[in-house]
């Protein structure tokens, strides 16, 4: 059970053990779940910050700067950066780490690059558990950089307490403008590349858009201007991230979200386990293949077959 041997090291903050555990999580090694369940009670301490936004908007550069600022404030940091895998070969070039080299020799910063391995939604399937492992290893802040987001890459809300959406001025040339779906998940907006023309206008535009949103809410996402190359606006951004956490705590939203998250997670795990169990039993069996052939030949229909198979499955589980 390789993962279990790593638990002790992870809890002590050993980065090699942490790195190996994350690999086992990614590879869905059977021991990873056990290790995670052992780690579970040591998690929940880190502030998890998501950074999303269109490709090239400066997410990685921002993450590096935010990290530097947190380090000044003596916080320890974990970073997970997610890049897409190639749909054709399954391979991936994980390029975010290049931007994060300035922290590469800082033992209190842990950076892990991750491929989506075909998963949609802006994160890898393993991201959430990897974040949890880093949390357990004692990092104060865990930052998650999503793949360059279009509009459906919104899964980061399920992982992060605070979601930063980074946009850039004059988007529309080679960088796409942020899409509606992404706008809605922001706790903080950042207009990065403040050195570009049109930055102030972009801030006004986003504010105007927020004003149009008539939903009742006690946290109106602030819109900040940053230059990730020079670090302008980063201390304010880090302050704002902190303010958002205080807000979540004071309003009880953190607890509420925690409950919701636990529920979602439990249900997801069950759903995954169940379907996995179901399909490992079914797939490849002659009966199953026969049933599919019948459906295709219009000798049976998928609705009744599904019903029958699930009923059989439930009976066999009961036995």
């Amino acid at each position: 059970m390789p993962a279990i041997k790593l638990v002790k090291g992870v809890l002590k903050g050993n980065r090699r053990d942490l790195a190996r555990l994350i690999t086992l999580i990614e590879n869905e090694h059977s021991s990873a779940a056990t290790a995670l369940s052992m780690l579970y009670k040591h998690t929940g301490n880190a502030h998890i910050v998501g950074v999303t936004g269109p490709p090239g908007s400066g997410k990685s550069t921002l993450v590096t700067r935010i990290t530097a600022e947190y380090r000044k404030r003596s916080k320890t940091i974990g970073i997970v950066c997610v890049d897409p895998s190639s749909p054709f070969t399954g391979g991936a070039l994980l390029g975010d780490r290049i931007r994060m080299q300035e922290h590469s020799l800082d033992k209190d910063v842990y950076v892990r690059s991750m491929s989506t391995r075909g998963h949609l939604g802006g994160l890898a399937r393993a991201t959430s558990d990897a974040v949890r492992a880093i949390d357990a290893s004692g990092k104060d802040i865990v930052i998650v950089e999503t793949v360059g987001a279009g509009q459906s890459e919104v899964q980061v809300v399920e992982v992060a307490h605070t979601v930063i959406v980074a946009d850039v001025p004059g988007a529309g040339d080679d960088i796409q403008a942020i899409k509606a779906g992404i706008m809605e998940i922001a706790d903080i907006f950042v207009v990065n590349k403040a050195d570009y023309p049109g930055a102030d206008r972009k801030v006004i535009e986003i504010n105007a858009m927020l004003d149009l949103d008539s939903r009742e809410r006690s946290w109106r996402p602030p819109v900040l201007l940053t230059n990730a190359l020079t670090g302008e606006g980063i201390p304010e951004l880090v302050d704002t991230i902190g303010a958002h956490m205080s807000y979540l705590q004071e309003t009880g939203l953190l607890k509420q979200k925690g409950l919701q998250r636990s529920r979602d997670e439990l249900e997801q795990i069950m759903e995954y386990k169940l379907t996995n169990e179901l399909f490992t039993r079914l797939r490849g069996t002659p009966e199953y293949e026969q049933a599919i052939k019948k459906i295709a030949g219009r000798n049976d229909d998928p609705y009744s077959v599904a019903e029958r198979l699930i009923a059989d499955f439930l009976i066999s589980v009961r036995e």
Binding site: G56, G95, I98, R99, D173, D174, L229
Partner: protein, 556 residues
């Protein structure tokens, strides 16, 4: 420049104007040129009577706008191109010996290769220099090394090209100081600093500061030279490295000229008049393996640059529109397998450069893919140029391939396609913005990968590599830089540090710092520091503190 006058009139103007003027100053190599069988060879062949309308506009005569047929009225009938082998390794003393060897063998200009620590602004004793001192070029830490490098080489007799970019101003200052010691004033010095930072970000990797600060150093040198060094080429805007990083010929022209546009823009922005500096801009291209395309490329680049300077920047002097360039044969086409075959490749590529009208030429050595060249290999490489110059007669008439349907078509196509890229880059906000966005890098990387795949799947044949291969003994004569060089160089550096006037060094470095913090021209202050024997690492250290260090986007 092109006008409505008839071609014959223009020809007469050319013949009686630029040609006569040039001949008065620089007579041709011979009174009369002829072929081996005694057929006379004229200076130029053109579309004689049936003058094409386009001829005057698109080709015209050598030394006349748009310079498609060459930048001088008589080209190699006057003087051959400068034969300039890029060299440097180990210490100043050893490189000085190599320089003298090359000059003795008939080389006509010098070209310095610096080691990587020098190019990135570190002294030899910097921990980051460990293992790299003198390995791929000569280590120059201070004026003391530069004096040794040019010991016994009179600077009023040679022209020197320095492949130096981020610390270009510092090496130029060292060269000026050596000149002064030899009694050669700076207005007599001839040569080039590469000084082309933009291509470092996309293809060559020896940057220190970010684009903004680097551009300032560049415009400072432009300004300083325009006032003090009329014969000096202030920049060598380089396509060679872009090409060697994997681009196509069209991309090479496009990205180089886009960078050129950015430099001209920057200089105009700091208040320089375009005609005050543009004639000292020079260029550098590769000569790859596609024979006709490469020749066309050189011609197209010249024409396109002339048009850009005239139409876009409103340059008034013809000399501002004249693209002079250095050529190097393409190292990336040379193989470790059957290395002697490389001599043949280099011969053809050198010939392309000459047929394309280059001003100077480096021919790579047959051991290119093995190590820095041995003395024997570099001699063959130099001889290759000499054979082309002295035995083949290709320099006896100007631009001999002009008028070939194929060459003119390719010239038009390269120009057109390069221009399309330049427009795209303009849309992205110019070369610096396109680089920051990774556009140029991605284009180069894609081409490089395609090229490699074509070799791997043999759709592109490389003789001796993927076809006509043989079993080979891996027995070569490598040039080896003795690891002891590092300690020796560090020893000399430390001695020098002890002997110099420390107070003077500190004073000049402080002056440099405050100038860097303001916006006054840094060249004079660098020159002061150099003369006080401040080291390159110390000066770059000060600038690193003020300007910061750049992390490249490193696009995959």
């Amino acid at each position: 420049m092109g006008s409505e006058k008839g071609l014959r009139k223009t020809f007469k103007e050319w013949d009686e104007g630029p040609v006569a003027k040039t001949l008065a100053k620089f007579p041709e190599r011979k009174e009369q040129f002829e072929t081996l069988s005694g057929i006379p060879v004229d200076r130029l062949y053109g579309p004689s009577e049936k003058a094409l309308m386009e001829y005057e506009q698109e080709l015209c005569f050598p030394g006349m706008f748009p310079f498609t047929r060459g930048v001088q009225p008589t080209m190699y009938r006057g003087r051959f191109w400068t034969m300039r082998q890029y060299s440097g390794f180990a210490t100043a003393k050893e490189t000085n010996e190599r320089f003298k060897f090359l000059l003795n063998q008939g080389q006509t200009g010098l070209s310095i290769a610096f080691d990587l620590p020098t190019q990135i602004g570190y002294d030899s004793d910097n921990p980051l220099a460990q293992g790299e001192v003198g390995k791929v070029g000569v280590a120059i830490n201070s004026l003391a090394d530069m004096e040794l490098l040019f010991d016994g080489i009179p600077l009023d007799k040679v022209s020197t090209s320095m492949t130096i970019n981020a610390p270009a101003a510092i090496l130029l200052a060292m060269y000026i100081a050596v000149g002064e010691k030899q009694g050669v004033p700076m207005n007599k010095l001839r040569g080039t600093i590469q000084n082309d930072i933009l291509k470092e970000y996309v293809a060559r990797g020896t940057f220190i500061h970010g684009p903004k600060e680097s551009m300032r150093l560049i415009t400072d040198t432009f300004k300083f030279c325009s006032e003090n060094m009329p014969l000096w080429n202030t920049i060598s805007i380089s396509g060679y490295h872009i090409r060697e990083a994997g681009s196509t010929a069209v991309q090479e022209v496009a990205f180089t000229l886009a960078n050129g546009i950015a430099y001209v823009d920057a200089a105009i922005k700091v208040g320089l008049d375009v005609d005050s500096f543009a004639s000292r801009l020079s260029f550098f291209f590769g000569s790859h393996s596609d024979f006709f395309e490469e020749i066309a490329k050189f011609r197209a680049a010249r024409r396109l640059w002339a048009k850009i300077m005239h139409d876009r920047f409103g340059a008034k002097d013809d000399s501002s529109c004249r693209m002079r360039f250095h050529t190097q044969t393409a190292g990336c086409t040379l193989t470790a397998q059957q290395p002697d075959n490389n001599v043949v490749r280099v011969t053809l590529q050198a010939l392309q450069g000459v047929l394309g009208g280059t001003q100077s030429l480096h021919t790579n050595s047959r051991d290119e893919a093995l190590s820095l060249p041995t003395e024997q290999s570099v001699q063959i490489a130099l001889r290759t140029q000499q054979i082309i110059a002295y035995e083949t007669g290709v320099g006896d008439t100007i631009d001999p391939l002009a008028g070939s349907y194929f060459i003119e078509h390719l010239t038009d196509e390269v120009e057109k396609r390069a221009m399309e890229y330049i427009i795209k880059i303009d849309d992205l906000g110019g070369a610096p913005a396109a680089i920051e966005k990774g556009f140029i890098q991605r284009e180069i990387n894609d081409s490089a990968y395609e090229f490699q795949q074509a070799i791997d799947n043999s759709t592109r044949v490389v003789v001796g590599l993927n076809k006509f291969t043989v079993e080979e003994e891996q027995q070569f004569d490598y040039l080896r830089v003795d690891p002891a060089v590092e300690a020796e160089q560090i020893g000399r550096l430390q001695e020098m540090r002890e002997e110099r006037d420390q107070a003077a060094v500190e004073k000049t470095l402080e002056a440099l710092r405050s100038a860097a913090e303001s916006d006054s021209n840094l060249m004079p202050l660098i020159l002061d520091a150099v003369k006080a024997y401040a080291t390159l690492g110390e000066m770059c250290g000060v600038l690193r503190e003020v300007f910061g260090e750049y992390r490249a986007p490193d696009i995959l």
